[in-house]
Amino acid sequence: MAGDAIRFLNPDGSVAVTLDDSVITEFGLIPASATAQSVTQRATIIETPIATARSNINTINALFERARRAQRDGDSTRIYVEVRTQTSDSYYRSLLIDGNITPDTEAFSAVYYGNGYLKYEISFTHAPWWEGADTQIAISNLNGSNNTAGLTIENHYVASTLDNTFTIAAGVTTGDAPAPVRLQLTNTQATALGYVIVGVLQNSASWPGNHWYQGEGYASAEPGSSTGSNAAASGGQYLTLQVPGSGSPGVSSWAITGTSFGVMDGKSVAPLMRLYSTPGATTYAGVGVTTASTGVGTDYMEVGTGGRHVLFPPVSWPPRAAGGTYAAGSFTLNTLNTGTTTTIAVDALCMFPTDCLRQYRCNDTITNGSTLVDDGINGYSYVTVSGNRTPGVVTYGTPLEILPGLATTFVVMFSDISTNAMLPAYTMSAQLYYRPRRFTI
């Protein structure tokens, strides 16, 4: 191929060896596949002078060994190989997994070696994708459109004013393979944050935040319950929900519009219940989603005395996909209390989409001005404090990724680590990056 080239990179991203069409005599690029764990490529090289060839072979072999060790040890060393198919194209990179170099059977013949050439074959195994240059994605919400400077994310949703979601418009991202993202969330207020949860919906359209936020201003029919108002509550309101004692289950439910069901079209949501205050006693709660004909639900989860939010297991939204428009249904909060009658202060429930669902517990807290970086591109997370990385971030759940071209919605909430409170006053700003990925280049 005219203009094709293979580059092997050092761990710092600098180019260690370039093999271009002046030395590559045979290289048929095998496309990657979504189902494969890796892809192996082969290239035949005829290089001169021999000393240069030997030097390159040594360098490439050393990188292969580092790649193998990185795979084995799981450390942050990442060795990439870059490929270009013609001179006018950009290089695309892939993660190097393994490789070896074999002298050709005629390598030491008079034709090659005798004339100062070394002929050898490089075989290298890489991740099943090729990715382009690091690119920032413009994101939007109620606080701005196509933002790249840092989009404000509030910790609750209030119609037309405050937003805890952001979206990527359809057609913005490119490539043909799912691509991990690097999400940067910077704390923009005084209280140090220690817990962040992010859910991602990959869909044909993005949706406003009101569909994610449920139960705001809800008045429960459960005896002894009441609504309260306080600026420290999400949307200025919270529900003091009475939880019957002695194991008698309590049930509260509120209507869900068919439009909200249509947002997910049967995909799963993980409901997060944020509490206005710390419960005085341990209780248990489960959630359910019902329509006229069917329902789904979760088992009881502990609502402990040390927490201010509870994440429930995913439930289908609505219970079964039907496509098109949906009839309205209801969302149910079931409570169980084995002690005497008590109350929990339910602030609101936020439905997190689960195409990706990622949680971050930051033992090195995110102080004002610090940034939580979930670098899915390179596979690690950290908090930057004054330019330094502090790696004390425990991540769990599905890594964040985008599907190229699709509208994508990110739902975000965060809490401090000292009281686990998800106060409405907390804010962060978001920036999003990716490297467009392709199966074929």
């Binding site: 799981g74 341990t282 069917t294 425990v394 769990y396």
Partner: protein, 529 residues
């Protein structure tokens, strides 16, 4: 297809987790759960340099949390073993659920039993010609103790000759070292003389109300309703060694209380036993409190519903571990004859609930080989049990046969005797009913372990994520939403109670274990006969 899992460690709870070392990659392989105890076992593989793998030894006994793709904690327990394989540069991490840690220590409590039963051949007359109308023994707790309430009182009491009156036993407060004359409570109706043996007798009765047992001196006062009789009278066992340090023996002649043996004045003690009547759910709470003092961050609290309604002695002699006691109390269940199931939350709270009724069923579909067996079926159950008490003072009894007539009509009588300890008549009967309920019909024999396409649907037909590894529910094998109408006399072989389950992370296989399947999960064989 393998799902994504994450792993974190903690020395306390899930709010204080930290990631494994960066140079070690840990992958869960399998984990299992059981209906009574929740998280059971897990095995993980660690990859890394040998130095990093050896470093994992420092995390032994740390709590470990396995998170699902959705960030839910699907398994949690503690690291029990790390086995490094230098040839492959991997390590096998073996973990156990917290219930195992709750079994590290033996549970002993004097809460529920106070006795001085060092019985010798010495006796003290009551009601004979010398005019002794009452005898009394004082008691109190000494040293380190937890206060409790006595509900039963027992004394070795014999009869010489023949009497036809009634013996009354009262608990009285103390008044300057003698009984006050004011009854706190008494054995309802007393003891008819006809129930008192001639030699080596022992009478035990239930008090009309709880009697506090603590550091305050109180008295067991024994009297009778008839007159004195030089030939026909009662004798109580006493010990002339004066070895009981919590009180002393006094006798009453109708006007004055006198300490020591009548006639010699020798200090002595009357043998006696005070036994509590504590609801089993409260006993479970006491055990949980004790666990926290021995093995912190294991089980930190109890949430139980409903209260059991069963009352037995809380005394435990230290022959069983904390978890064995909890498990036995779960299997005894409630007064409704339903056993408890138990789960431990990630925060370490023990959530105890009644086993669900078989009216709500889940559905298991897929490649399942199913059959039916009467091998472990029983439709006539009797519990042989011993009551609580010190090693030298337990008594044996048995329940009546508890039977299911429909099952007997259909399958013939299949009897089962189960032995158990630390029960009373009511709780033993309840246990027999609970066991009958679990074994009265043929059980399913299910082979899912060799299959790979089991799909689980919840009660409403929703697909249940295999990696949640649910247990403790009734299920049918069939297509989603299948309804098989069975009468109680002929429950379908496809109906089964899922007592345990294992999840294979590599293959995403969920492998449920039905009750009575031939495995270590068999509830009858664990602690009982």
């Amino acid at each position: 297809m393998r799902k994504r899992f994450d792993v974190a460690f903690s020395q306390t709870g899930p709010a204080n987790v930290f990631a494994p070392p960066a140079n070690v990659r840990i992958i869960p392989r399998t984990y299992s759960r059981v209906a009574v105890g929740g998280a059971n076992r897990a095995e993980l593989t660690a990859f890394g340099t040998l130095e990093a793998l050896w470093g994992l030894w420092s995390f032994i006994n740390h709590n470990i949390y396995i998170y699902s793709w959705a960030g839910q904690i699907v398994w949690h327990g503690y690291i029990e073993k790390v086995a490094v394989d230098t040839s492959t540069s991997t390590a096998r991490i073996e973990c156990k659920g917290r219930m195992y840690k709750a079994g590290w220590n033996y549970y002993e409590t004097n809460r529920g039993l106070l006795e001085f039963m060092d019985v010798t051949s010495d006796k003290h007359n009551l009601g004979e010609g010398s005019g002794i109308t009452r005898i009394a023994q004082s008691y109190q707790l000494t040293g380190t103790y937890s206060t409790w309430n006595a509900r039963y009182v027992g004394i070795p009491l014999y009869m010489i000759g023949t009497r036809a009156d009634t013996v009354n036993v009262e608990i009285q407060s103390d008044a300057a070292g003698i009984p006050s004359g004011t009854a706190i409570t008494s054995v309802t109706g007393g003891f008819s003389a006809a129930t008192i043996g001639a030699t080596n007798g022992y009478i035990e009765g239930e008090l009309g109300a709880d009697a506090p047992v603590d550091g305050t001196l109180r008295w067991i006062v024994v009297s009778y309703t008839g007159g004195t009789d030089i030939s026909n009278y009662y004798q109580a066992a006493v010990n002339l060694n004066n070895a009981y340090t919590g009180g002393s023996f006094h006798w009453y002649n109708g006007s004055t209380w006198t300490a020591g043996q009548s006639g010699t004045g020798r200090a002595c003690d009357m043998n006696f036993r005070l036994i509590s009547r504590t609801q089993t759910s409260e006993q479970m709470s006491n055990v949980v409190t004790d666990i926290a003092s021995y093995t912190p961050n294991t089980i930190n609290g109890l949430d139980i519903t409903p209260a059991s309604g069963l009352y037995t002695s809380a005394y435990r002699d230290g022959m069983q571990t904390h978890w064995q006691v909890i498990r036995a109390l779960c299997e005894t269940g409630t007064s409704a004859g339903v056993r408890y199931i138990a789960d431990i939350t990630p925060n370490g709270r023990l959530l105890v609930r009644q086993e669900p009724a078989e009216t709500t069923t889940w559905t298991i579909s897929g490649d399942v080989e199913i059959g039916v067996s009467i091998e472990k079926m029983s439709n006539s159950v009797r519990v042989l049990y011993t009551t609580q008490g010190g090693e030298a003072s337990v008594s044996a009894a048995q329940t009546a046969w508890v039977e299911d007539e429909f099952s007997i009509l259909k399958y013939g009588t299949k009897s089962l005797r189960v032995s158990s300890i630390d029960l009373d008549a009511t709780s033993a009967a309840s246990k027999a009913a609970a066991i009958l309920d679990m074994t009265r019909y043929p059980h399913a024999t299910v082979d899912m372990a060799s299959k790979s396409a089991v799909v689980l649907y919840g009660p409403n037909g929703q697909v249940v994520d295999n990696c949640t590894c649910p247990v403790g529910y009734w299920a049918r094998v069939g297509p989603r939403g299948s309804v098989i109408n069975d009468s109680t006399a002929a429950l379908s072989a496809s109906l089964m109670y899922i007592e345990g389950a294992e999840y294979n992370c590599d293959s995403d296989d969920y492998i449920p274990t039905p009750r009575n399947a031939p495995s270590a999960l068999d509830i009858v064989k664990v602690n009982d006969g």
